[in-house]
Amino acid sequence: MIRLPLVLFFSAVLFSTGVYGVLARRNAVLVLMSIELMLNAVNVNLVAFSQLWHDVTGQVFALFVIAVAAAEVGIGLAIVILIFRNRETINIDEVNLLKW
């Protein structure tokens, strides 16, 4: 039986890693992957608290999040491919047309 604080600490580290990846990486694919990290950190939390309260709702919700994340990655990668085809790059610093 793993103790709850350890799990929460793990999920916090995972989330922070994801945040760092979203804010700092230049590669669009890696940004998407970092978003996956953040979502999975949330999933970990949901499952952990579900275990704690003996309530299955959290686990059901985690399944939903996984499904939504899969759809999100599908769309996100499609956008990245289209950007690459147009701009020959996937550096999101250079994708800044929508500005003042």
Partner: protein, 658 residues
């Protein structure tokens, strides 16, 4: 129009046609409208409407008179007209014997003039318009005659003045004609203003309740109205008479009015309109009777001066129409003077008005026939016409004899009644009337002899006028011979059973008065015949030194008016008015304009700086702020994400703290 007819008499005779007197006044209005709108498209250029209306009006008038011949009483009816505060004014008719007689006079003379004008005005440029105004005039005069209240009477009175103005100036292309029209209009207006105020005074005397003539007449005799008020009203009303009936000192317009076409002179300036002033005094006679006695004395003095003065002026005229004009002034003054001697004089005055209308209209129309033939107004260019124009001569001779007062023509009988009325205690009036009668006979004889006897002194070959002109002459001559017997004592004087003031006066034939009257007339005629039997050149009336120049210059009244009133008004007052207009009124107007302009400029400045400044300032501030804020929209997704996380953290902190 007739809503409530009420018979004012206790007589058993019904109102008959007298209820329909107003129709006679409406007929000329209809004919005027028809002539105006369809006249030029009608064969004969529109005279048919006026003649038809006058004929119908004449027949109806005779039927109205028939009611009084049978001994009927006065008939009145009216409808509500308008209300001002407590004053309810009704439009309506009041028909008594006097009204019926006046209707006969107006329709007869108007019919004669309408027919006569077909010939006299033939080929005139404004022929149709002439008939329109003739009809309007007749309507107005009939309205005056049948009016049962003072305001309705005033309306007709003023419309007559307008028509008079229009017809005197009918040939306005010549300056002298339009000047005469303006003079007539303005001089009569001088009298109309007091008349208007007289009406106000009488309405005030009723307590502002009524303008009805009968009510006013009954009221002034009562104790409620002060004598001073009644006297003031009488004097003011008489002002209207002085203007309209051309009495001294406002008689100056009538001789000049002869510039109008001769039929107009016959209708308006001899028989009807100028008689309206006399009619007014007679209709409002109870006001004059209940005024202070000085008022009637004043009426007598004015009438006396006019009567004798105008007769003298007629002596020296060369223009045949001006002789007749002064004669008209003089004869009207006879009536006015007779008004001053009491109810008997009033009735005699109306009898004289009645007969005078016939013979004076006849004289004017006959003079018009002569002028038509000779193409001149001047008797010095006439003479010897009796062979060439027999019908005109004989009718003119009858008219002249009536004017001179030769029995048994109409003028003798009516003048006799006037003299009889004056002979009862009015010696001065009586003497003056006799003197005037002699002078009248003299100038009438002079006129006839200068025009028709001796040798012809004019140009061309004068011919008798067409039948359409001589027909009315014969008709009026018939009237001149016959109507006098209506009032003669030996033929029972039926006229005075129709026309009387309150009670019929007994009519008596006074032999010594008649003898004096015939003597005066005969003296004038014989003297006239003696002086003019040889047609002396130059005319003796111009050989009397200062007296002739006094008369030729019309007592210098025109000069007095010109230098005393017209020129000062024209030169000084109008100059002052121009100065006031240029400096004060224009100053006010220009000042207002300048003030408005300055205000507008100030408003414009305020609009540009303050209002526009505020609006632009707001816009600029918004634009500047937006310019600053737009740099947040960097297009960098990661920067947005960073803001998002910072925001979430801040929210989390805030929520957990709270």
């Amino acid at each position: 129009m007739v809503v409530a007819a009420e018979t004012l008499s206790a007589n058993a005779i019904g109102p008959g046609f007298s209820k329909l007197a107003w129709v006679v006044a409406v007929l000329p209005v209809v004919s005027a409208a028809l002539t105006l709108f369809f006249g030029k498209r009608t064969p004969g250029r529109g005279w048919i409407y006026g003649v038809a209306a006058m004929s119908a009006g004449f027949v109806l008038s005779v039927l109205v008179l028939w009611h009084f011949v049978q001994g009927g009483g006065a008939v009145g009816s009216s409808v509500a007209w308008f209300t001002i505060g407590p004053l309810h004014v009704e439009a309506g008719q009041f028909v008594d014997g006097l009204t019926a007689i006046m209707m006969i006079v107006v329709t007869t003379v108007s019919l004669a003039v309408h027919v006569y004008s077909i010939g006299y005005m033939h080929g005139d440029v404004r022929f149709t318009w002439f008939y329109v105004v003739l009809s309007v005039f007749t309507a107005a005069m009939l309205n005056v005659v049948i009016a049962d209240n003072l305001i309705q009477l005033l309306v007709g009175w003023e419309v007559m003045g307008l028509c008079s103005y229009l017809l005197i100036g009918h040939w306005w292309e010549e300056r002298i004609n339009s000047n005469a029209a303006i003079k007539a209009f303005i001089v009569t207006r001088v009298g109309d203003v007091p008349f208007l105020f007289g009406i106000f005074v009488l309405i005030a005397a009723t307590g502002f309740h009524s303008a009805n003539i009968q009510q006013v007449g009954e009221l002034v005799g009562g104790a409620d109205v002060s004598r001073g008020l009644v006297s003031a009203a009488a004097v003011l009303l008489f002002g209207g008479t002085i203007g309209k009936s051309a009495q001294f000192p406002l008689h100056v317009w009538l001789p000049d009015a002869m510039q109008g076409p001769t039929p107009v002179s016959a209708l308006i300036h001899a028989a009807t309109m100028v008689a309206a002033g006399v009619y007014l005094v007679g209709r409002m006679y109870s006001v004059f009777l209940h005024a202070a006695p000085e008022v009637l004395q004043f009426v007598g003095i004015i009438g006396g001066i006019t009567m004798f003065g105008a007769a003298l002026l007629a002596l020296v005229q060369d223009d045949i129409k001006r002789v007749l004009a002064y004669s008209t002034v003089s004869q009207l003054a006879y009536m006015v003077t007779a008004m001053s001697v009491g109810p008997a004089g009033r009735d005699s005055a109306f009898f004289h008005l009645f007969t005078h209308a016939f013979f004076k209209a006849l004289l004017f129309l006959a003079a018009g026939s002569v002028i038509h033939a000779v193409h001149s107004n001047y008797m010095s260019e006439m003479g010897g016409l009796w062979r060439r124009m027999p019908v005109t001569f004989w009718t003119f001779a009858f008219g002249s004899a009536a004017l001179a007062g030769i029995p048994p023509l109409a003028g003798f009988w009516s003048k006799d009644e006037l003299l009889v009325a004056a002979s009862r205690g009015h010696e001065v009036v009586f003497t003056l009337m006799l003197l005037t009668a002699a002078v009248t006979a003299f100038y009438t004889t002079r006129m006839v002899m200068q025009t028709f006897l001796g040798v012809y002194r004019g140009h061309g070959e004068p011919h008798e006028s067409p039948a359409v002109m001589t027909g009315p002459l014969v008709g009026l001559a018939f009237g001149t011979v016959t109507v006098g017997f209506l009032g003669a004592a030996f033929s029972r004087a039926v006229f005075f059973k129709w026309v009387f003031f309150e009670v019929p006066e007994p009519v008596t034939f006074v032999p010594w008065v008649a003898t004096l009257s015939i003597l005066a007339a005969g003296l004038g005629v014989v003297a006239g015949w003696y002086v003019y039997r040889e047609q002396p050149e130059p005319d003796p009336v111009f050989q009397l030194g200062w007296f002739s120049s006094l008369l030729v210059n019309k007592f210098y009244l025109d000069e007095v008016y010109m230098n005393g009133i017209v020129l000062p008004v024209r030169d000084r007052v109008s100059a002052a008015a121009v100065w006031f207009d240029r400096n004060v009124l224009d100053g006010v107007v220009n000042g207002t304009a300048r003030l408005t302009r300055d205000l507008a400029l100030g408003t414009d400045e305020f609009d540009r700086t303050v209002i526009d400044g505020a609006v632009n300032g707001v816009a600029q501030t918004a634009g500047f702020t937006g310019g600053l804020l737009r740099y947040l929209q960097s297009g960098n997704v990661q920067r947005y994400a960073a803001f998002l996380f910072v925001g979430v953290v801040v929210l989390a902190i805030v929520i957990t703290r709270v």
